[in-house]
């Protein structure tokens, strides 16, 4: 099923998906280790003055976590969509360029040298992500512009090298620090402070909006770089822009919540099945779809073994692999 990506259609699809997202959020708000009746959840949402336990749980714990899931889900999915188009490779995901490994190295390094100041330090992770982004870009440049093959190879090699660095650093960390970082490495939405949402939200929204600017160019780029250049696309600028924005989205998301797997690989595929290949339609669909899926996954992570909690990365990995295999079989057959 594909719709032409007219402005009207884009708004209709985005509107329907947004409604679905709102619905998912409402359902997720009512679920958790503590049973809260619907009326109390609603009261906590609409009367911000109260400080009952229900209000603290809904507004202080569930809502910030859901908002983080929305932001991270959208960021990873849009980054994945952008990178699959940029690299013209359906296996590309936000982690293929080694950015999440770079973020992990940053976070662990901060723990290593800084002790407690750097507990789950998003800033150090982000710095690690940006350094990796620049490094892979320099490696992946070929004759003045990005070559998708060189870029993928540079990313994969960097990622595996950094993974080795991570393992090395982990063996030298104290048990106490390893426990904390293990959750982060698996992808975990439980730890980001509310205050960081105020920085994450505008950063992620701006980067997604920035990528959307390239939507039409990405469509042309799918034909191949040379064809795109013939058709008047400034390929160098588009590739650089998409690379930077997708990497920043990945870096921000990973810094906040660790490497949540499969979402950035899967959602672009699901999106293409739903609305087709036009990025003007695909990008908003991926953003909202990724948000919905991560909110759902995290709801499961919060409730499956309640009162204990799973890291959401475990949920997306367990659910993601079978879905991916299913998609593979379906598209192959």
């Amino acid at each position: 099923m594909t719709f032409p990506a007219t402005p009207r259609n884009v708004i209709v699809v985005a509107g329907v998906m947004s409604l679905l997202l709102v619905l998912t959020v409402l359902v997720s708000l009512t679920m958790g280790a503590v049973h809260l009746p619907l009326s109390e959840v609603w009261a906590a949402l609409v009367s911000p003055g109260t400080n009952s336990e229900a209000a603290v749980i809904v507004r202080g714990i569930r809502l910030p976590r859901i908002l983080l899931a929305i932001l991270v889900g959208a960021a990873l999915s849009v980054a994945g969509t952008g990178l699959q188009a940029l690299l013209r490779n359906p296996l590309a995901d936000p982690y293929v360029l080694g950015i999440s490994s770079g973020a992990a190295v940053g976070a662990i390094f901060a723990l290593w040298i800084g002790g407690r100041v750097a507990a789950a330090s998003p800033l150090a992770a982000f710095v690690g992500a940006v350094i990796t982004m620049v490094w892979v870009y320099l490696l992946g440049r070929h004759g003045g512009r990005l070559s998708s093959y060189t870029l993928i190879l540079a990313g994969v090699i960097t990622a595996s090298f950094l993974s080795a660095v991570i393992l090395f650093m982990l063996t030298l960390l104290s048990t106490r620090d390893v426990r904390g970082i293990a959750f982060w490495l698996m992808g975990d939405l439980s730890v980001t402070p509310v205050a960081e949402l105020r920085i994450l939200a505008p950063a992620i929204i701006l980067a997604i909006a920035g990528l959307y600017v390239f939507a039409k160019d990405l469509n042309v780029l799918l034909l191949g770089a040379e064809e795109a250049a013939h058709l008047g696309v400034n390929v160098v600028r588009v590739e650089l822009g998409v690379y930077i924005l997708a990497s920043l989205l990945t870096g921000i998301a990973v810094s906040a919540s660790g490497a949540i797997g499969y979402l950035g690989l899967l959602v672009p595929h699901l999106g293409r099945m739903l609305v087709g290949n036009d990025h003007r339609m695909l990008l908003p669909t991926a953003a909202l779809g990724g948000a919905i899926l991560l909110v759902l996954s995290d709801t499961l992570a919060r409730t499956a073994v309640a009162p204990a909690e799973l890291p959401v990365g475990a949920v997306t990995a367990v659910a993601g692999a079978p879905v991916f295999i299913y998609l593979l079989r379906k598209t192959a057959g």
Binding site: S18, V56, A120, P193, A203, I208, R237
Partner: protein
């Protein structure tokens, strides 16, 4: 708290070339972002103290509802006579048996914050040995004071009991409990005086072999029980020990904690490469000991007496012997 540089949001190339509907999805996301809310911690009459981990904690003056985030703390709370005030503990809190019936908040590493909030605790009690810093940060943000204790020696365990007693308004109970524990420690010390000190390997895990570091309370209990923990030169709390390092240290006694997840047979050990040549294996001095030794709480002296009995059977020290 570390923040993202605000610069990261500014690097958006501004070139809207031929886009039909630039920001329809963005607008919707903006609306969602606008619903961000922040929570203010409620004000209570409290005093600010530094806990054993160095955090400053606002401890309320009236403590009626306590949540424990670690099994050893649950034991201390009960031993101080505050079992009724304990309104929640972890899935692993199994002693005293009543602790199992308390509402649980999840595991030590990943408890449910909303369960903790719903229990309306005046004070939560935790330890960096079992809990994550992130949990402490989150509780602080939610306005739930968390008091942390930590102990890496037998004496430190006694000190943390006394410290909790002071914080929880049970200072005299804590003092007499600690005095009783100290008396039992002294008694063990007297009994084993002049005895040879066997070299002890404490097995935390065996594939790979993980033992206790010299600066853990377990190593300290072994020393107090008249043994010499091997691996005094090892670093960290739970160091790996290779066969190469193990063989020359040749332990006289091997101790294995009895836990649900860890119950290998002694035959299994004898079949490990190199192990059958160890003195402890040849002389069949491998013992399962109660996992109480892994819990720095009131029963740590039980473990001490048990270990002393295992290491020095000739002084006829019966396990769990009381005054």
């Amino acid at each position: 708290m570390a923040r993202f540089p605000s610069k990261s949001s500014g690097q958006v190339p501004c070139c809207p070339s031929g886009v039909n509907s630039p920001a329809s999805a963005t607008v919707l996301l903006c609306v969602l972002a606008a619903t961000l809310s922040i929570l203010l911690p409620p004000a209570v009459s409290a005093r600010t103290v530094k806990d054993q981990t160095g955090r400053s904690v606002d401890v309320p003056n009236n403590l009626h509802r306590l949540v424990s985030l670690a099994p050893n703390i649950t034991e201390i709370v009960y031993a101080l006579g505050l079992g009724d005030e304990l309104v929640g503990d972890t899935d692993y809190c199994d002693f005293p048996p009543q602790a199992k019936n308390k509402p649980h908040v999840g595991t030590m590493v990943n408890p449910s914050l909303e369960r903790i909030v719903a229990l309306k605790p005046d004070l939560a009690l935790g330890t960096p040995e079992a809990n994550r810093r992130e949990t402490a940060d989150q509780l602080e943000r939610l306005g739930i004071p968390l008091y942390g204790v930590t102990a890496s020696t037998l004496a430190g365990t006694l000190a943390s009991i006394e410290d909790l007693g002071k914080i929880l308004g049970r200072a005299s109970e804590a003092r007499s409990l600690v005095a009783e524990m100290q008396a039992r420690i002294d008694r063990v010390e007297k009994r084993i005086e002049g005895q040879p000190k066997p070299r002890v390997l404490f097995v935390v895990w065996y594939r790979p072999l993980i033992t206790v570091g010299p600066s853990t309370f377990i190593a300290d209990v072994i020393r107090a029980a008249g043994g010499t923990p091997i691996g005094e030169n090892l670093k960290g709390e739970w160091p790996r020990l290779t066969l190469e390092e193990l063989l020359p240290q040749n332990p006289d006694v091997i101790l294995l904690p009895k836990t649900e997840s860890f119950s290998p047979s002694t035959e299994e050990f004898q079949s490990l490469p190199g192990w059958k040549d160890l003195r402890a294996v040849k002389e069949r001095r491998m013992f399962f000991v109660s996992e109480t030794v892994m819990r720095p709480g009131p029963r740590l002296v039980d473990a001490l007496e048990e270990l002393a009995g295992v290491l020095h059977p000739t002084v006829a020290f019966k396990t769990g012997e009381r005054q």
